[in-house]
């Protein structure tokens, strides 16, 4: 990211999460798709979320076949593609945000094919230059991640792997030993999307994962309001919110709605 910053991307992510670590506090990590509702609005919304208390960002790259996403994010990223968004645009947007003075760590969220097509080494190099600190790739489990991991290691960037309620003891061990930056814990079986409440088993699930690792555990899928963010904060190290923010952005006063929801989520996560 910053030419004079001696920290690696992994360290920046770890440090941003560590700042919020506490019994009832956690980092707040919004997901937002580049190019939605339009290119410029996506930039503006991420800037406003940075002001509203986001600790790090998951910046979405659109893909034609987003099989881990529910209807809200599917529709938003489809719109982004119709708006002509490309992988290069996603990188440029990160660069613009950096130039605008946003310092929070950035994770690029992309499906694997656009990265593979761009060229793994070239993508990581360009992403590092654009100001990214890590990658979240929902269809790349550690079983297939070696090439990406190696390139990330060299660049000091994080490759975040997932765990799910279906994960076995062995998978928890494998993922916690390989994931860098943090572990992305999917709170429910299913795709991304806002849900009325968080599942009861979540506390136990987080505890199981934590028992295995010092790597922070961030919870995503289904977190949609301040109360749920506070719930997550009481058990995990980070709360990731996507669909609820995308939904907020869809309305006529999208920018305001996103900003006020981001504030609510940050307050929930930060324990005040």
């Amino acid at each position: 990211m910053n030419g004079n910053d001696p920290m690696t991307g992994v360290e920046r992510i770890r440090s941003a999460i560590a700042k919020r670590q506490g019994d009832a506090t956690a980092a707040f990590m919004p997901y937002f798709p580049t190019g939605f509702p339009s290119r410029s609005e996506s930039v503006a919304m991420m800037r406003s979320m940075a002001d509203a208390g986001a600790d790090l960002f998951e910046i979405g790259f659109p893909f034609s076949d987003p099989l881990a996403d529910g209807p809200t994010i599917q529709a938003a990223t489809h719109r982004a593609l119709l708006n002509g968004m490309t992988t290069r645009d996603g990188l440029d947007i990160a660069k613009e945000l950096r130039e605008a003075g946003i310092t929070q760590p950035f994770c690029a969220m992309s499906y694997y094919n656009p990265i593979f097509n761009y060229g793994i080494d070239r993508f990581i190099e360009d992403a590092a230059q654009a100001g990214f600190d890590g990658f979240i790739i929902p269809d790349l489990p550690p079983d297939e991640g070696e090439e990406m991991e190696e390139a990330c290691r060299e660049a000091g960037l994080a490759l975040v792997y997932f765990l799910a309620p279906s994960s076995s003891r062995q998978r928890i061990e494998l993922v916690t030993s390989r994931s860098t930056g943090f572990v992305y814990l999917v709170s429910v079986l299913g795709t991304t999307g806002a849900r009325a409440s968080l599942p009861d088993y979540l506390t136990d699930l987080v505890a199981q994962v934590r028992a295995d690792t010092d790597t922070p555990v961030c919870v995503g899928f289904g977190v949609s309001n301040g109360e749920q963010a506070a719930q997550v904060a009481s058990i995990a190290d980070g709360a990731i919110v996507g669909s609820a923010l995308v939904k907020a952005a869809e309305g006529p006063d999208g920018a305001d709605a996103v900003k006020s929801l981001a504030r609510e989520l940050a307050r929930g996560a930060h324990g005040h």
């Binding site: 269809d139 489990p141 994960s167 795709t191």
Partner: protein
């Protein structure tokens, strides 16, 4: 008697064993899926291995294939088609005569029996393009008393309306998929989303030799009954010419009928294996589903859990495909085909919509067989094959399904009564 599935494991001395333990066919295959699905894939790998060894399971499946599906399907000597071309003798492997009218039932029944018997799962989701796999799955679920949900793109529902009704008659719920291109690829994505959500009690009954490991190998094994029977029928003078074919031809969408037909011939070096992709409106139009034939759009990529050739734009977004046949209208191809092509063990060609329609008509008139539009691609490509073969050669064509479902499409395209 239905040939035993064990045979393919003991007889494979082709020189290499794929997939490897990680589900790779050389550089292709693998499991590029969300972590949530990994346990289900591991479980599936286990039960597939168990089923392959379990003679009780094999016997039960074989009995159903024989007494319910109607296997072995016949080998037909296509005399008038042979005469028409004036070249090599042509034989047809009649998967169109299998129950439900296509080869899809071999896989659907095998997977359904496997998960019901070994896993105890009782809910099945499936995708369908032409509707043949959906109908086969709905049929297997009715037979085995399982709940069945089939995802189908809106475009495909419109062009395959009779199959939608068939699935409903069989007790399946057909869910319309109106996202993306509204065809097979979107139906697969939606079926995967359902599976991710309901994975503890749901099996995803994928219909072709693609997707994440172990699907490509599992579907190949279940479909290889086609090639095992055909090989035996060709060799047996009472059912065929008494020798192996020189050329085997099959259409390739995801590639399940082709791999099922090719696999038992892999170790017969004298047998040329030829796959025919959907050429749509021609390669230059970029409106087709020929993953191997279009150097601009067809490149190595990852779609729906597997690494293979994928039609995609320059930014890695999956391209919209076109074929007159819904069953071949898909942007990727089974990983084993990509490997066979690299190894030059199989060759791949394409047949345009127009050629496929000509093949459709030809088979109707010459042999009294109305083929599925998918299978019509194999027939429609035969004129091009003729320049490569001698009159002494034997050609075996996989007739993967029957064409009743396609009558509306064909009626709109072919003028009759002249």
């Amino acid at each position: 008697m239905v040939d035993n599935m064990q045979a393919i494991f003991t007889a494979d001395d082709y020189g290499f064993h794929y997939p490897d333990s990680r589900g790779k066919f050389g550089p292709y295959g693998g499991k590029y899926v969300p972590e949530t699905l990994i346990p289900a894939l591991e479980e599936l790998e286990e039960i597939h291995a168990t089923a392959m060894q379990d003679t009780g399971f094999q016997d039960e499946l074989n009995l159903l294939l024989e007494t319910y599906v109607g296997r072995p399907t016949p080998l037909t000597h296509a005399r008038r088609l042979t005469e028409h071309f004036g070249g090599p003798e042509i034989y047809l492997k009649r998967e169109d005569l299998a129950h439900t009218g296509a080869h899809k039932i071999n896989n659907a029944l095998g997977q359904a029996l496997m998960v019901k018997r070994i896993l105890g799962k009782n809910r099945v989701v499936a995708e369908t393009g032409a509707g043949q796999h959906g109908v086969a799955t709905a049929t297997a679920c009715a037979l085995l008393d399982m709940e069945c949900v089939v995802y189908m793109g809106s475009v495909d529902m419109a062009r395959q309306a009779p199959n939608v009704f068939r699935m409903q008659l069989l007790g399946a719920e057909v869910r319309e998929v109106s996202s993306g291109s509204q065809t097979l690829k979107d139906a697969i994505s939606e079926a995967i989303r359902d599976w991710v959500t309901n994975v503890p009690d749901t099996h995803y009954l994928l219909g072709s030799a693609l997707g994440p490991h172990p699907y490509p190998v599992m579907v190949r094994n279940l479909q290889s009954v086609i090639g095992r029977e055909a090989r035996r029928q060709m060799l047996d003078p009472s059912t065929g010419p008494g020798r192996l074919p020189d050329v085997v031809v099959a259409c390739v969408g995801g590639g399940s009928n082709a791999i099922g037909m090719f696999y038992p011939f892999l170790m017969d070096p004298g047998v040329r294996l030829m796959g025919v992709e959907a050429g749509g409106r021609g390669i230059e139009s970029h409106e087709h589903a020929s993953r191997f034939a279009d150097p601009k759009l067809g490149r190595l990529g990852v779609l729906h859990g597997t690494r293979s050739y994928v039609l995609q734009d320059e930014d890695g977004q999956i391209a919209l495909t076109h074929s007159i046949s819904a069953g071949l209208d898909y942007a990727s191809v089974g990983p084993e085909h990509a490997l066979l092509r690299d190894r030059k063990r199989a060759e791949y060609f394409y047949c345009t919509d127009e050629q496929a329609l000509a093949g459709f008509e030809l088979l109707c008139r010459q042999e009294g067989i109305i083929p599925a539009l998918e299978s019509a691609h194999a027939v429609g490509w035969l004129p091009e094959l003729m320049s490569e073969v001698s009159p002494d050669d034997l050609v075996l064509v996989s007739l993967s399904g029957r064409g009743d479902k396609d009558l509306d499409t064909v009626m709109a395209e072919l003028p009759l009564g002249d």
